[in-house]
């Protein structure tokens, strides 16, 4: 059960397809040819780089290096969450809410899975820890970003109603209950959809990868189920936590709606 190694020629053939596509878009004046080529080059460089990093990490398997890699991944994911907000929080909160909730949810779930379910020795074995964390971070990132964006947008749009309800003596929890619920739901939807479609509409990437690598399909399926559940838990807890933290931050100790804590919208 060994992998058929891809040669440079194989990759070059695939690259020709992209070049052909770029040629077609140039001919059709779609004006995306340039960004298509740049993106392709980025794919090659970024993946080669991460391949080298992972190879080095596997060769020098030490907890410190694994932790450093995990930390860098978290910080980049936190930046991504912030960058996807149309109205993000001012100051440290803009970066902090997403990063903190990802740290709690994705890290906790990864560590839990490594120590109790997968159980490699040592538990932080990079071959397991890094891909697992990567998949969790990638998905919780999407869920948290969606949930936060939906919350701040909805609160901004409904500010008159929220203040109207506050003025009538409603608590801030009550005045924002529909918006908080909607935001949490939109953070969870992608994961629920992915679980519902798994195996029927799409063959999940990790499972496909394992099967290509020669793992028996049933083994690959078991891993995929585990990952799906971990992702659901990580994304769910992360999105709920982020929506909660953000809605607390939107009000002060006298339950005033503090939209001045958000940056003005972009676009």
């Amino acid at each position: 059960m060994s992998v058929i190694s891809l040669s440079a020629l194989d990759l070059a053939l695939a690259a020709l397809l992209v070049l052909a596509l770029a040629g077609l878009t140039l001919w059709a004046r779609l004006a995306v040819g340039r960004s298509l080529l740049i993106a392709s080059v980025r794919t090659v460089l970024q993946l080669l780089l991460v391949g080298l990093v992972l190879q080095t990490l596997f060769d020098h398997a030490q907890l410190g290096w694994v932790a450093l890699m995990a930390g860098v991944m978290l910080l980049i994911a936190g930046y991504e969450v912030m960058a996807r907000q149309e109205r993000r929080f001012a100051g440290i909160w803009g970066y902090g809410i997403g990063t903190a909730t990802m740290f709690v949810s994705a890290f906790a779930v990864t560590v839990l899975a490594l120590t109790t379910m997968v159980g490699p020795t040592p538990w932080w074995e990079p071959q397991y820890a890094i891909p697992l964390l990567g998949m969790l971070l990638g998905n919780t990132m999407t869920g948290i970003a969606l949930g936060l964006d939906r919350l701040t947008q909805a609160v901004w749009r409904e500010r008159r109603v929220i203040e109207g309800r506050l003025a009538l003596g409603d608590s801030w929890l009550c005045a924002t209950s529909t918006m908080r619920r909607e935001a949490a739901r939109s953070g969870l939807m992608p994961t629920i959809n992915a679980m519902a479609a798994a195996g029927v509409v799409s063959l999940p990437g990790m499972m496909t990868g394992q099967i290509l690598a020669g793992v028996a399909p049933v083994e690959a399926v078991k891993y995929q189920i585990l990952i799906m559940f971990l992702i659901a838990a990580g994304t769910g807890f992360g999105a709920l936590g982020a929506v909660w933290l953000a809605s607390v931050r939107l009000f002060d100790q006298r339950s005033r709606l503090r939209l001045d804590r958000l940056h003005p919208g972009r676009r």
Binding site: E158, R160, V161, E163, G164, R165, L166, A167, L168, G169, D170, S171, L173, C174, S177, D252, R254, S255, R256, L257
Partner: protein, 222 residues
């Protein structure tokens, strides 16, 4: 976690005995980013009008008093400090009614505070010249006059001690304007409440009577 909306009790604050009887609302050195420091007081049953050029901060003053915007200074209701009253109770007692009232549910009655009394609502409906069925009207179909009267009625059901009225009759015809003026007057008399009324209609100023204060250069002048 389920949130029970509007479940707070509607309790009238007891008047502190011996002190503050003459001053229902007592504001000292109130300051926000755009206003003040300014002083202001209201007596039970009193209606004070606030005027000023547009952009002078009339709405901001009312919002600060309702504790919807941050402000410094002391604000006392019946000799009790604002900071010692929970914000939800404060806003039921010091009711801010904006020029355009906000509605979020389908029918009118869904916007009423928990524990509202049908008798009370009925008598206010009558005084606002609205039928009893108005409680089940769809918000989408309300005219601006009905919307404004029901918005005020909804605030009355909290039995506030202070009404902060931000141009409540803007864009209304004379008939509806008069109805609202009469209803507010009778509310003040019946509940020993006070009102701050923002208006720049000079005819209305004459009809309403009472003290008139103008906001000029961040301050209130008589």
């Amino acid at each position: 976690m389920p949130v029970f909306c509007g479940a707070g009790r509607i309790a009238a604050l007891r008047m502190a005995i011996g002190q503050g009887m003459e001053r229902l609302l007592d504001v000292r050195a109130l300051e926000t980013e755009q206003l003040g420091p300014l002083d202001l007081y209201l007596q039970a049953g009193e209606l004070v009008q606030i005027t000023g050029a547009s952009g002078s901060g009339k709405s901001l003053l009312l919002r600060a008093l309702a504790d919807l915007d941050p402000s410094r200074g002391t604000v006392r209701l019946m000799a009790r400090d604002r900071e010692r009253i929970p914000p939800t109770d404060w806003r039921r007692q010091v009711a801010y009614v904006p020029a355009e009232t906000a509605w979020w549910a389908e029918t009118v009655r869904e916007h009423f505070p928990a524990g509202w009394e049908p008798d009370q609502a009925g008598s206010w409906l009558e005084r606002f010249s609205l039928p009893d069925e108005a409680l089940d009207w769809e918000v989408e179909r309300l005219s601006s006059g009905e919307r404004q009267r029901l918005g005020l009625l909804r605030a009355f059901l909290n039995r506030p001690r202070i009404l902060l009225l931000d141009e409540p009759t803007a864009n209304l015809d004379l008939e509806n304007t008069r109805r609202i003026e009469r209803a507010v007057r009778s509310y003040l008399a019946a509940s020993e409440a006070g009102a701050l009324w923002v208006s720049h209609d000079t005819l209305q100023r004459g009809r309403l009577g009472g003290r008139v204060l103008e906001i000029r250069d961040r301050r209130l002048v008589a």
